[in-house]
């Protein structure tokens, strides 16, 4: 089994480059488990790495920095929330993994089927668990999904970084837009305002 990372989930769902909104992990089972993959979104891996770098430096680095005009959140708490979020995604994908290899759900889907009062209810395992695991993270982005500030920061940055043509990203207008978005999220995440 491989734990990979891809630029797939914390994106704006543009076709051709990214796989769509809210897809933070992916399980690719194969008949040979050694060739199977659980991939975690690259933005999430980068956020964790930013956290490790912040811990090493003793000061906020990358997505662990606050927005313009806001104080950076505590490294330890942000790292804890980031790892919790990454862990939930991994857990979610492991459920799919288990459905494939342990329960032999290799058919049309790996739905959870529950017969109830004579009615067969069928829940899409992915969706069913996704609601529990991710809250409503995805599009539109909602910080109520109890992710971390670092994840929200990476998500916002990626919206403006994705390029799939030969145009040059930024700086015209984009800088104001990105800062405005980050400041909005900083308020949602209750980051402290900087005092002049």
């Amino acid at each position: 089994m491989t734990y990979g990372n891809e630029s797939n989930g914390l994106d704006n769902g543009q076709s051709g480059v990214n796989s769509g909104p809210g897809k933070l992990g992916e399980t690719r089972p194969s008949s040979n488990p050694d060739q199977s993959v659980i991939a975690i979104d690259r933005g999430i891996v980068d956020a964790v790495e930013d956290g490790m770098e912040s811990e090493r430096l003793g000061q906020s680095y990358g997505s662990f920095k606050g927005a313009m005009g806001f104080v950076s959140p505590g490294i330890a708490a942000t790292m804890s929330n980031t790892l919790n979020f990454a862990g939930r995604i991994l857990e979610h994908e492991t459920v799919h993994w288990g459905a494939f290899y342990n329960l032999g759900q290799t058919g049309v889907d790996d739905n959870v089927n529950i017969p109830l009062f004579g009615v067969n209810l069928s829940f899409e395992r992915g969706r069913f668990f996704e609601v529990l695991a991710f809250g409503n993270f995805g599009q539109p982005f909602n910080p109520a999904s109890n992710s971390s500030w670092a994840i929200a920061d990476k998500y916002t940055q990626i919206q403006y970084t994705v390029t799939n043509d030969r145009s040059t990203p930024g700086p015209t207008g984009a800088m104001n837009a990105i800062n405005a978005d980050l400041q909005m999220r900083a308020v949602q995440y209750q980051l402290q305002r900087q005092r002049n």
Binding site: S7, V17, G20, K23, G25, E26, T27, R28, P29, S30, S31, R42, G43, D46, A47, E49, D50, E53, Y61, G62, S63, F64, K65, E93, H96, F100, T106, G107, V108, D109, D110, E124, R125, G126, R127, E130, K154, Q157, I158, T161, V162, T163, N164, D165, R166, T168, P169, G170, P171, A174, M175
Partner: protein
Amino acid sequence: MITRFILFAFSIVLSGASCFGQVMSGKEVNGKYLDSIRHAVETFYCQGDVKYQVRYDRNEVHKVVSVLKLINFITKNNVTVRQVDSGLSKIDFQNVDRRNDNNGLLRTTTVHGVLKYLSVTIKLVCIDDFVVTKKFVLVPTTTIRCPNYGNGLMDFKIVTDIYAKYIEYPVRVVDLRYLQMRAFDSLNLAKGSVSHKEYKYFTEQLSNRVDSWVNHFYTKQYDPDSSCCYSYVRGEKDMIQLIKEERYDVVRDLVFSPNYFYAISAMEAVLYLSTARKCPVDDQLKLRIEELKTMDFKIKVMRASDVIGWADGYKSLKTSDESVIGKYDRSLH
């Protein structure tokens, strides 16, 4: 006198060139483009605080250059797999991985090579030995420090100082993380198609260069990454679009696509259309459908929004004509 005339003529040519403006070479265009992105990254994303690797090992840079030169050779010429292999064998990779995947008549050879400063993936879609589609992904392996943005940005110094000096084919930066190039070789497609007359290649449509979604769709058949993913729930979206536009003849022809995934998608659309009496199934079509149902090329299957599996051929999908017709009916209404 003659020398004077030659000089005079030469000056006219030169002044003419400056009048009409000079045509920039591929390298110059790439250089300008990559420089502008580096500038945006440094000033915008990193806000002037960016640290690159100070020195690069000359021998290792030389290896990167040899890869870039090989890519130039592949993109500029109508190459065969043998020629590419011969070029690759001369490069001293730290690690090389090679995989072949068959998808109907198309064979995709993927070579992933790692150097100290470059991780390169070369995907070649071939008919027999003729390379039809060439895809390259170049990921600089050196890291940069940008405390404002954090991890994930590629090393734009090596990209502008070294890569840009050699890459001649138009390159694009994806997500500020890697470089990508894609080329399609219609001449090789024509050569490869000669000995496989049983397929339909859409060469005529591909050559008319009209910028329509259908033409992009014809080209996409030869892109290995576009063969994804079979869904039990929804009809293939391009087939749905073709049906909505009443282009039944195109759907019918696509059953004979050299790309197995496209062929089975079109086959399902034809099954639906035949019940709606919009596409008669003649003997030739019937034979092809039977053939497609028994072939065992790998199909990527979407089992949930984040679960992508594989099936060995259409029969292993264990679906029925009735459920396919129902799927298209639901997708269209």
